[in-house]
């Protein structure tokens, strides 16, 4: 009796597993056929109803204001002082020759001394 019961259980399990396997195979095949039909069938764009409740505004891509990458702080000058040094001899002497510099002194001060960035001299 126990053996018959075990055999029955085994049979039931086998049927269940086999059945689900077959169902899976059939389902996969159906999806494959569906995909195949979809590729062959031309897609028809859905029509848009002309009865709209609100007017549709097309987005604009025109750039109205663009942050400039180069800023003009001062326009070209019409008259500039003559920056070329006057030459009387073949050699040009710099305006501030520093052959002998004053003795350096360390001082304490209340506020930062003015510092200026200029081309090296």
């Amino acid at each position: 009796m126990a053996n018959i019961s075990k055999s029955k259980q085994f049979l039931v399990r086998t049927v269940l597993v086999a059945g689900s396997t077959v169902a899976t195979l059939i389902g996969a095949q159906s999806f494959a056929l569906f995909d195949q039909r979809a590729q062959l069938t031309p897609q028809v764009a859905p029509t848009v109803s002309t009865q709209t409740l609100l007017p549709v505004q097309q987005p604009t891509t025109e750039i109205l204001h663009q942050a400039p990458s180069i800023i003009i702080l001062r326009q070209p000058q019409s008259a500039l002082p003559n920056v070329r040094p006057v030459v009387n001899t073949p050699a040009i002497i710099p305006p501030n020759p520093q052959i002998s510099a004053p003795a350096p002194v360390i001082v304490q001060q209340q506020q930062q001394a003015p510092a200026t960035s200029r081309s090296s001299r």
Partner: protein, 307 residues
């Protein structure tokens, strides 16, 4: 209690200015600077025939052991060349000498014309970190005039920053660390080459501002040909440009120096457009026609516009 110390002296062919706000012995800290600058010049100057740099130049084409200071400067120079795609090229010394700049500027004498100097390929500068050796391309010669001031400004600023907020200016190439008490940064003016009034004032902290130009170091050859000290490595001649001065703000002083050369060589428009593409860099240009242009991010640092 913190005190603000100020010290000016002459070194590297220009005025050096140091400001330090500290509660330590500021006088002693700043008094040590002239000797430090002298030691650096002994290694880096092309105007001293016995400098480490000139000894290296004499051995171009051969592997040569160099000092740590010289090694770092050459590495910085090669990096600057890389960042500017060769617009900054440290191998311009033969061209500089051929154009007449063969001695310290205040000692320039008669300058012959018509000479052109060859410029080596910076890619061919070889470095060996482990043995601290350098090999320059054969026949080439190195000049560190376009990087050494920025490198030194960074070195000294980092050194002094251990003791407090500081500003170091080497001929107008400025590096700052921190800010004076009660301030958001150090106030720095940008000189106008055409006027006694500055162009603008900046407030900077932990930044560098470097100005390069063709407005000061200029001379003529015996037959009246104008010359200046910014060599265009593409031609071997002094640069032909509409830029009179260019000022660059950047976190790294040597990079600011290299960028200033690149912008000057590219010209005002192309140069500023190129600068706009570089990370964390801003610039201002004074053109030969008197116009002043800047990158848009220059305005962030600008405290006052005086033009």
């Amino acid at each position: 209690m913190k005190a603000l110390y100020h010290f000016s002296f002459r070194a590297m062919g220009c005025m050096v200015e140091a400001q330090l706000q500290t509660d330590q012995d500021g006088t002693a800290l700043l008094a040590a600077l002239p000797a430090q600058f002298e030691a650096l010049e002994a290694q880096l100057s092309r105007f001293r025939s016995d400098s480490d740099l000139m000894k290296l130049n004499a051995r171009a084409g051969q592997w040569t052991f160099v000092s740590e200071v010289l090694y770092q400067n050459i590495a910085a120079a090669k990096q600057a060349a890389r960042l500017t795609n060769g617009l900054y090229n440290p191998l311009v010394l033969p061209a500089l000498i051929a154009s007449g700049y063969d001695r310290s500027f205040e000692k320039l004498g008669e300058v012959p014309s018509g000479k052109v100097g060859a410029i080596g390929d910076w890619h061919a500068i070889q470095l060996r970190r482990q043995t601290q050796e350098v090999c320059l391309p054969a026949g080439s010669a190195l000049d560190l005039g376009g990087i050494a001031k920025g490198w030194t400004a960074k070195l000294v600023a980092d050194q002094l920053a251990q003791y407090g907020a500081c500003l170091i200016s080497i001929g107008g190439d400025i590096a700052v660390r921190g800010a004076p008490l009660g301030e958001t940064g150090w106030n720095i003016s940008i000189a106008d080459p055409d006027r006694s009034v500055p162009i603008c004032e900046l407030t900077l902290h932990d930044r560098a501002v470097v100005t390069s130009g063709i407005d000061y170091r200029r001379w003529q050859t015996v037959d009246g040909q104008p010359r200046h000290h910014i060599i265009d490595p593409r031609t071997g001649q002094p640069a032909e440009t509409d830029v009179r001065t260019v000022s660059i703000v950047h976190p790294h002083a040597p990079t600011a120096e290299a960028f200033s050369k690149a912008v000057l060589l590219l010209g005002s428009r192309l140069g500023l457009e190129w600068l706009n593409q570089q990370w964390d860099a801003s610039g201002l240009v004074v053109c030969s026609d008197g116009a002043i242009l800047s990158t848009s991010n220059w305005l962030v640092n600008m405290q006052r516009n005086l033009v």
